[in-house]
Subunit: 425 residues, 2 copies
Amino acid sequence: MRPSPLGAQGKMTKPTNQQITVEQSGAFVETFSLAATSRGPLDGLRFAVKDLIDVAGHNTGCGNPSWRDTHPRAELHAVCVEQVLAAGGECVGKTITDEMAFSLIGENHFYGTPLNPAAPDRVPGGSSSGSASAVACGLADFALGSDTGGSVRVPASNCGLWGLRPSHGAISVAGVMPFAPSFDTIGFFANDSEILERVGSVLLARDPISEPTQPTIHLLDEAFSLIDSEVRVALDPVLDELRVLFPGRLRKASLDAWCGVAAGGGLEPWVDSFYTLQFAEIQSSLSAWIADARPTFGPATAASFELARSLDRRTIGAAARRREAYDHCLAAAMGPGDLLCIPTVPAPAPLKATNAQNRKGHYYRRALSLTSIAGLARLPQVSLPLAVTAASPVGLSLIAARGQDMHLLATVRKIAAALVSSRSG
Amino acid sequence: MRPSPLGAQGKMTKPTNQQITVEQSGAFVETFSLAATSRGPLDGLRFAVKDLIDVAGHNTGCGNPSWRDTHPRAELHAVCVEQVLAAGGECVGKTITDEMAFSLIGENHFYGTPLNPAAPDRVPGGSSSGSASAVACGLADFALGSDTGGSVRVPASNCGLWGLRPSHGAISVAGVMPFAPSFDTIGFFANDSEILERVGSVLLARDPISEPTQPTIHLLDEAFSLIDSEVRVALDPVLDELRVLFPGRLRKASLDAWCGVAAGGGLEPWVDSFYTLQFAEIQSSLSAWIADARPTFGPATAASFELARSLDRRTIGAAARRREAYDHCLAAAMGPGDLLCIPTVPAPAPLKATNAQNRKGHYYRRALSLTSIAGLARLPQVSLPLAVTAASPVGLSLIAARGQDMHLLATVRKIAAALVSSRSG
């Protein structure tokens, strides 16, 4: 069994990958040192920035050489970078993104595949591949990524990191490449739940919550029913730990039961709605540039754009109607103490170079089925690195009601602290 | 007294401006006819699109010739245009926007000032100036605009139209120029509250609400205390009508009392927070293009960008912290039936060519003080064309809790129907 993010004896220890070099990680587009602009809660912490997010004086490449060469250098930092620098963070570089943010895998045709140190023969996950790798390799204390369809949550799961996708609209995307704006968010990774919460406090511009409400944790049937058995076997003991930590507060739940006729058919209509709306928005955001600049894409990205182009745009309205029904259903069902619990991913990290990116592949659609829940309903989600399979780490996710990001982060910190104690006891 | 949008005898009649030509209106960048792509609730309705929003096959000019000339033609419609076309709407053209969306006035140095038919010597308001003018002149049944800092609400008020700024994130901005993304929204105008609601149902992808909850209407002290007396005199009788319509359900309220120490000092810290965050985001969105393309701006827009450039970006964090405190305070205070009531604007529409755009001018800062409430707290707001001064129409606004857009539109329709009856009775 591979080294667990919780340590070989189940202890919650930081990975000791500090010996991995920048070159070995393959995580960075470029490295540099950019000092904090003032002091704050992130004093002394090093952070990396996904190369979809502007850092002043650097070209934002978005994982594609044609994009880099047809866009001017960033004059100013993205607002999220500015917030982190002013809170004491020191920026150590820009990290590789999947091309145009268009994948959950983490293999970039032009820039390579950042190392997943927890499973070196497997992909790190994408599209915030380099940010996850930099943190997992110990080359940064935290890293900024973006998450449209799962691009923070999936690499957090694959690499054994804590990762947040925030409530939609809660963190500024000014200075970030628009992709599918109604899903685009700025998220981040850390090796440590306490650092995750501190970064959250800065970017969400809210104080940490000292004592979170006792949560009610709803295990979503539709999500657990579509995962591989090895993931289920890895997650079951974690659910048992949560039952001990929150006695009587874990219960089974079902989206179909909660959302009634609006949903139905498990996660199939969720992922269909997500695909339609994401493709529609990507095309509205990028098609003029593509027609004008005639960029060169890697084969997988070219196939993804072809799929997006094939969308019948008259179906946007029906997909939007389903999306809003889901959003309202979950908003009505979830109070501040309610958390949905799902596996972050349906399977261990795919082996490298196995064409897992193929949109028709079983892995990809199941992964998006899981990530589409928070995406469609605009909810915050944390992937917790609490389990490993024989192949790679796998995350367990908690999803909170919209705007309850700080509450979610406090609950996650509490879970991490309790599991350190119980796993070492 | 000028013709009221409610008719000379106080009747709720549609304006009879159908005789105004496209040329006389000065509202359009270009006109064309783009048929609906399928049938739906907007069958037979003509709509116009602000030239900040993509229409396939047309250049999106954003009110500035340098922008138009340095960006490729739109390949596809923005998602919001696609939704409206698929619901039966027929597009009649693209309308003038204030340069780069950067004003509440409606005077474009390059493209002129669209006619405000309700007050021809006065500005239409901006930045969705042409969309408001097109509807007010009877050249479209409704029109799409964008509202970052008030760009739908203010022109709706000046021109005597119904206008919605939706909850932030509720309507897709894919295919719309990013300006200050955490405030950017797609809003729209109509001459008729029933059409406003129908368009809302399509773009918000939700069914209309047949019988809205009885509202509680909170008259915000801080807002009413900063308006000109002629606006107060015009709005007072409308408040009396609302008291008759909703007996016992209008009450005085105060942001300072609701939000405690977090606010304080009236709307000054609100508008300061708004300025800081909006300028920070505008600079992150546009500074690379400005440095690269060296665009020519009109004098007022150049001054606005200079002001944005002067921002100390280390203050972003503190402004974001105030913004989130306001957002959470209002979210905690407002249930689905609670509506904030404020004047849309502090004064009648300014006379044309009076440099009202000057950022230090008294009008501008007071207008932004009012519009910053919904902007900072991400709330939906409708401006209702229920009053006129000797100079121009002035709107009364209702602001609902986040996500209660359809409830707000239903309440507005109910108010409109009741006032037709009582004013004609």
